[in-house]
Amino acid sequence: MFLLPFLAFVSLSLLTRAAPADETRQKLVALAAAGGGLIKLDSASYDLLTAPNRDWSASIEFTALDTRRRCAPCKLVLSEFNPSWNAVAKAWSKAPKAHRDNHFFATLDFDDGQLVFQKMGLASAPVVYVYPPVEGPRAKARTEPSKYDFSHGFEAEPLAEHLSNHTPIPIPYTKPFDWARWTTAGAGLLAFAVTLRFIAPILQSRWTWAIITIITSLVMTSGYMFTRIRGSPFMGHDGSWIAGGFQNQFGQEVQVIAAVYGTLGFAFIMLTMVIPYQTTSQRQRFQVYLWSTIIMLVYSILIVLFKVKNRGYPFRLLL
C-alpha cells in the first residue's frame, strides 16, 4: 500500500531528471555532427558531456595542440596521436545512428580548458579518459573514468580496439589503405625485375651471399635483437656508450662489438686463406706477426669490454 506512492515518486523523479539529460544529449549530438564526429570541448561543454546523470558514455582526449605548448611529447601528439584519435572518432561517426548517439568522442585542448586540467590533476598530455555511463541500461558499477594505457603505442588500431570495449557496438574502424607502402613495394619489385638482368651476376656470386651471411651473423651476435626489442637508447644519458650490467646494452655497443668480432674474424681469414699463399718469406713473416698481434690486441680489448659488463670475470689478456 505504501509502495505505490513511493514508486510514483521514484518514476516522477526519474522523469524530471531524464528530461534535461535528453536535452543535453541533443546538444551533444548537434555538437558532434558539427565537428564531424568529434566534439571540440571547452570547460562548459566538458561539464555538459560528463554530467553526473549521463546515460551515454564518452571518451575524451586531453591534449595540448598549440605550438606554444611545445614539448617533446606534445610534438609526438601532433604528429602521431592526434590523427589516430581523429580517425577513430571519424570511424565512429559512421556507426548506426541509434548507437552513435550513445557514445561521444571529444577533445579538450589545454588552452580551452585549463580549469578542467587542474581539476583532473593532469600535468601531461596526451591523456585519454573514458567516461562510462552513470544511468541507463549500459550503466555499470564503475562510474569513474578510466584511463587509456598508451603502452600499445599511439596507433589508431589498438586505440579503436580498446575503446570498442566501452562503446555500445565495436567501433567500425578499418585501417586506411596504405597507398604509399604498396606503391613503394610495387615500384621496388618492378625495378628489381627490370634490373634483374644486370644484377644477376651479383646475385649469383657466392661472395655476395657470404657477405650478407656474415654481416647478419655479426649484427645478431652483437645483441642487435636485444636493442631492438628492448628499445635501448643509442647511448647513455651521461654520454657513456657502454651500459653496465650483464643483461643490458646500448645501441652503440652493437657497432663496437660487431666491429671487434669482424676484425678478429678477418684476422683469422687472413691467417688461413691469404698468408699461406704469400711468395716471399719477408712479406709473409711480416703479415703473420701483424695479424697475430692484431688478434692478441683486439682480443684483449674484447676481454676488457666483457669485464666491464661482468665484473666478476677473473681472466684477462694483455690489457
Binding site: 651476435t221 635483437m225 681469414i269
Partner: protein, 760 residues
C-alpha cells in the same frame, strides 16, 4: 691421410691407419670424459638434485613411469595439476625423455644394478652430452675431416652454452634433444652425400625420436626443407637429394604422427607446411628432369618449365587458401613471437613473460661461446670457399642460428653449429702451423714442400703426450697440408702459440663459467660467508617439506605458475597452475587473485578450494627473482582477461614508478601479493627502517594487515612465505568485521542499520 712430418718409411700403411684411428678413439673418449666431468660441478658443489622448474615435472613423470610401467604412464591422468581441471599427462607431454630414463632404469635393474631413478635422471644430461660430442664429431667429419671433427667435438663438449642446458640435474628435454638434433643432421648430410635411402631412413628414425623428445623438432622440420629448397634454387638438384629427402620426409612424418601430442599437426599446421611443400616441389622437379631427359624439343622444355612454376604457385595459393578456410591451422602465437617479439607483448603476455623468450644481450653470447663467436664468421667464409652441398646446410644453419639466437631454446642448438664452423678455422689455423712445419721439412730437404704429394708425409707429429686435456691432443692430432706453405720456424711457432693460447683460454673460460654460473640448481641457493666458506640457502625445500609434513594431502596450494612443478614434485600437493602454461584463463585467474584486494580475491580463492597460498619474497635476502618483481606480469596477464578490473597503470605511482614504499599506489598496497610479501616485514627490523634489499626501498613502518589469510609458515630467510586461507566465519560475518571484532575494535557506523526485518 695427410700429416705434417714424414713418417718413418719402415711402417706399413696398415699400422699408420690403425694408430691414427686408435688415437682418434682415445681422443674422443677423453673428450667425452671432459664433457661429463665438467657437468658434474653441480653435483660436487651442491648435491645430486633435480634443478630448476620443468625438470621437476619430468622427474615426477619419470617416477610414475619407472614405478608403474609404461602403459600406466601413457594413460596417466594427473588430478592434482591445474586443480580443479587436472591434466592428461600421457597425451600432453613429449615422452622421449621419460621413456629414455625408463629404459635405462629397467636395463640397469635387469642387470641387478639397483640404481635409484633420481640418479639416472640427474646423470642423463651429462651422459648424453658425451654422445653429443660423438655426434658432432661425425657431423664435422662429413663437413671436413677427422681432425676438425675432434676439435668440434671438444668444443661442443665443454662450451658453456651447451653446458648451461645440460649440467647434471638439469633433467630437461634438451638433455637428450641436442644429441638427437645433431645426429639427425649427421644422418641427413650423410644421406644427401651418398644419396642413401638407408641414411635417409635413419635420419627419419632419429627425427621421430627427436619429435618424441622435444618441441624444438620444428627446427629440423624447417631446416631440412630449407636446405633442400636452397639447393634446388642453386640448381643443385640431384637424385641424391631426391632420395634422401623423400625417404626422410615420408618415414619421418608418418612416424612423428605416432606421438599423441603431435598427432595430425604435421599435415594440418603451417609450421609443417614448408616440409610438405618442398616434398611436393621435389616430386615435380624430379618429374621434369625425367621428362627432359627423354624429350628433346626446346619448346617442350620451356612449356614444362612454365608448368612447373604454375603448379608451384597453385600449390602455394592452395595452402594459403586452406589456411584461410581454417583447414590448416595458421601459425601459432608462439611461432609468431619467434619472429616478432612485439607480437607476443601485445597479444600473449604469457609468452613474453617466460624468461627463456627474452632477448639476449651480447655479453651472454660471449659468455656462452667465448672465442667461438668470432671465429664463427671466419668459418662461414671457409664454408663459402668450398661450398659443397653440405656446406650450404651449415651456412643456412648459421643464418638461422644467428637470427634466432636471441631465443635461448633455439639459440643454443645453434651453438652446435657455431662449433663446427668454428672448428674449421681453428683447425685451419693449426693446419697452417703444421703446414709450416712441413714446409720446414721441405726446406730441410726431406720431402717436397708441396704437401699435396701424399706418399711422403706421415707421422702425426708427437702423438698426444699423456693426453692430459682432450684439447691438447686435438691440436696435435689435426694437421693437414695444402699446396701452400709458410717460411721459417719463428712464424710457425708464433701461430702455434697463438692458437694454443686461445684454446687454453677457452678451456679456462669454460671451466670458470660452468662452475660459477651454470651449475646452480636454483632450488638451492649458495652464498658466501664472511670467512669465504659456502653457505647454502635452502628455503625452497624447507617450505615444500613443511607443506608435505603439515598439510593434508588434498590441500590445494596456490602460487604463481613458476612454482607449480616444484610444489607438485617436492611437496606433492595439488596446484592451481603450473609451468605447463596451456590455459591462459586459469593463469589469469591466479594473477587476478594476486593483484586484487583481499575482498575480491577471497571468493576466488574459496571457489577454487585454495587452502594455502605460497609467495616468494626476496626482500630480506636480496633474491631478485621473487614474486614482487614478477608481479607486473601477473597484472598484465590478468588484465588481458579482465581489462575492466585490473589495469596495469594503477600499480604504478602517478610518476610512473614501480614502488613498494610509502609512495606506492593504493592499488599496489592493497593487492594481495603486496600484502602477503610485506606482512609483518617491518617488525623484523624492530622499529628501525625496514629495507627491501631487492628494490632498495624502505618498506612503510606500518605494514599491511591481512583479514582473510593467516600466516602459516615463513622460511628461515623469508624467501618462501605460506599463508593459510581462512574458512568462512562461523557466525556468518564477513571476515573483516569478524577480525575487527576479535581485536576489540568498535565498528564505525555511519548510519544505523535496520536491525531485523519485521516478520510479516
Amino acid at each position: 691421410m695427410p700429416t705434417a712430418f714424414p713418417l718413418p718409411s719402415d711402417l706399413s700403411p696398415a699400422t699408420v691407419t690403425n694408430t691414427a684411428s686408435l688415437l682418434r678413439i682415445v681422443a674422443l673418449s677423453l673428450i667425452s670424459g671432459a664433457a661429463i666431468a665438467s657437468r658434474l660441478f653441480a653435483v660436487i658443489n651442491f648435491e645430486s638434485i633435480i634443478h630448476e622448474f620443468d625438470p621437476w615435472f619430468n622427474y615426477r613423470a619419470t617416477r610414475v613411469l619407472a614405478s608403474k610401467g609404461f602403459y600406466e604412464f601413457w594413460n596417466w591422468f594427473d588430478p592434482t595439476a591445474w586443480y580443479p581441471l587436472g591434466r592428461v599427462v600421457g597425451g600432453t607431454v613429449y615422452p622421449g625423455l621419460m621413456a629414455t630414463s625408463g629404459v635405462i632404469y629397467n636395463f640397469l635393474h635387469a642387470l641387478n644394478l639397483p640404481v635409484d631413478i633420481r640418479n639416472i635422471c640427474v646423470m642423463l644430461a651429462p651422459g648424453f652430452s658425451a654422445l653429443t660430442a660423438w655426434a658432432t664429431y661425425m657431423f664435422t667429419k662429413e663437413m671436413k675431416d677427422e681432425s676438425a671433427g675432434l676439435l668440434a667435438a671438444a668444443f661442443i663438449g665443454i662450451v658453456p652454452g651447451y653446458i648451461s642446458r645440460s649440467v647434471a640435474g638439469s633433467y630437461d628435454n634438451e638433455a637428450i634433444a641436442i644429441f638427437l638434433l645433431m645426429f639427425t643432421f649427421f644422418c641427413w648430410i650423410k644421406a644427401l652425400k651418398l644419396g642413401s635411402a638407408l641414411f635417409g631412413t635413419l635420419a627419419a628414425v632419429f627425427y621421430f625420436y627427436m619429435v618424441a623428445a622435444w618441441g624444438g623438432y620444428v627446427f629440423i622440420t624447417n631446416m631440412i626443407p630449407l636446405h633442400g629448397l636452397v639447393l634446388i634454387l642453386m640448381g643443385r638438384f640431384s637424385s641424391r637429394l631426391y632420395v634422401a629427402y623423400s625417404s626422410w620426409y615420408a618415414i619421418g612424418t608418418l612416424s612423428s604422427m605416432q606421438v599423441p601430442f603431435v598427432g595430425f599437426q604435421p599435415v594440418s599446421t603451417s609450421e609443417h607446411m614448408a616440409a610438405l611443400g618442398v616434398f611436393g616441389l621435389l616430386q615435380i622437379v624430379a618429374f621434369t628432369q625425367l621428362v627432359r631427359s627423354h624429350v628433346s624439343s626446346k619448346q617442350f622444355q620451356d612449356l614444362l618449365f612454365l608448368a612447373l612454376i604454375t603448379v608451384g604457385l597453385l600449390g602455394f595459393v592452395g595452402v594459403v587458401g586452406l589456411t584461410y578456410k581454417g583447414v590448416i591451422a595458421p601459425w601459432t602465437g608462439r611461432f609468431y613471437s619467434l619472429w616478432d617479439t612485439g607480437y607476443a607483448k601485445k597479444h600473449i603476455p604469457i609468452i613474453a613473460s617466460v624468461s627463456e623468450h627474452q632477448p639476449t644481450a651480447w655479453p651472454s653470447f660471449f659468455m656462452d661461446l667465448q672465442f667461438l663467436i668470432f671465429v664463427f664468421p671466419a668459418g662461414v667464409v671457409l664454408c663459402f670457399h668450398q661450398l659443397r652441398d653440405e656446406h650450404v646446410f651449415v651456412i643456412i644453419y648459421a643464418v638461422m642460428a644467428s637470427y634466432f639466437r636471441r631465443r635461448h631454446a633455439v639459440a643454443f642448438s645453434s651453438l652446435l653449429d657455431t662449433y663446427l664452423d668454428a672448428a674449421e678455422p681453428a683447425d685451419a689455423a693449426a693446419e697452417e702451423s703444421t703446414s709450416e712445419t712441413s714446409a720446414t721439412n721441405g726446406a730441410s730437404g726431406a720431402a717436397a714442400t708441396t704437401a699435396t704429394s701424399s706418399g711422403s708425409k706421415k707421422a702425426k707429429k708427437g702423438p698426444p703426450p699423456a693426453g692430459t686435456t682432450a684439447l691438447t691432443d686435438l691440436v696435435a692430432v689435426k694437421k693437414g697440408d695444402k699446396p701452400k706453405g709458410i717460411f721459417g720456424l719463428d712464424t710457425r711457432l708464433a701461430i702455434v702459440m697463438n692458437a694454443f693460447g686461445m684454446l687454453a683460454f677457452f678451456v679456462f673460460h669454460c671451466t670458470w663459467a660452468t662452475s660459477n654460473a651454470y651449475s646452480s640448481p636454483s632450488v638451492v641457493l649458495a652464498s658466501t660467508n664472511p670467512d669465504g666458506s659456502q653457505h647454502i640457502i635452502d628455503d625452497f625445500r624447507e617450505a615444500y617439506y613443511w607443506l608435505r609434513q603439515n598439510t593434508p594431502e588434498t590441500a590445494v596450494v596456490m602460487s604463481w605458475w613458476d612454482y607449480g612443478y616444484q610444489i607438485a614434485g617436492m611437496a606433492d600437493r595439488p596446484t592451481l597452475v603450473d609451468n605447463n602454461t596451456w590455459n591462459n584463463t586459469h593463469i589469469a585467474t591466479v594473477g587476478k587473485a594476486m593483484s586484487s584486494t583481499e575482498e575480491v580475491a577471497y571468493p576466488i580463492l574459496r571457489k577454487h578450494d585454495v587452502d594455502y597460498v605460497l609467495v616468494i619474497f626476496g626482500g630480506l635476502l636480496g633474491y631478485s627473482g621473487d614474486d614482487i618483481n614478477k608481479f607486473l606480469w601477473m597484472v598484465r596477464i590478468a588484465q588481458g582477461v579482465w581489462p575492466e578490473e585490473i589495469q596495469e597503470p594503477n600499480y604504478f605511482t602517478p610518476q610512473g614508478e614501480y614502488r613498494i614504499d610509502d609512495h606506492a599506489s593504493p592499488t599496489m598496497k592493497n593487492s594481495l601479493m603486496y600484502k602477503m610479501s610485506y606482512y609483518r616485514f617491518a617488525e623484523l627490523f624492530g622499529g628501525g627502517p625496514a629495507q627491501d634489499r631487492v628494490r632498495q626501498q624502505q618498506v612503510p613502518k606500518v605494514g599491511p594487515t591481512l583479514d582473510y589469510l593467516d600466516e602459516a609458515y615463513t622460511t628461515e630467510n623469508w624467501i618462501v612465505r605460506i599463508y593459510e586461507v581462512r574458512k568462512e566465519d562461523l557466525l556468518g560475518r564477513d571476515l573483516k568485521s569478524a577480525n575487527a571484532f576479535a581485536k576489540g575494535k568498535k565498528r564505525k557506523r555511519s548510519k544505523p542499520v535496520s536491525r531485523r526485518r519485521p516478520i510479516v
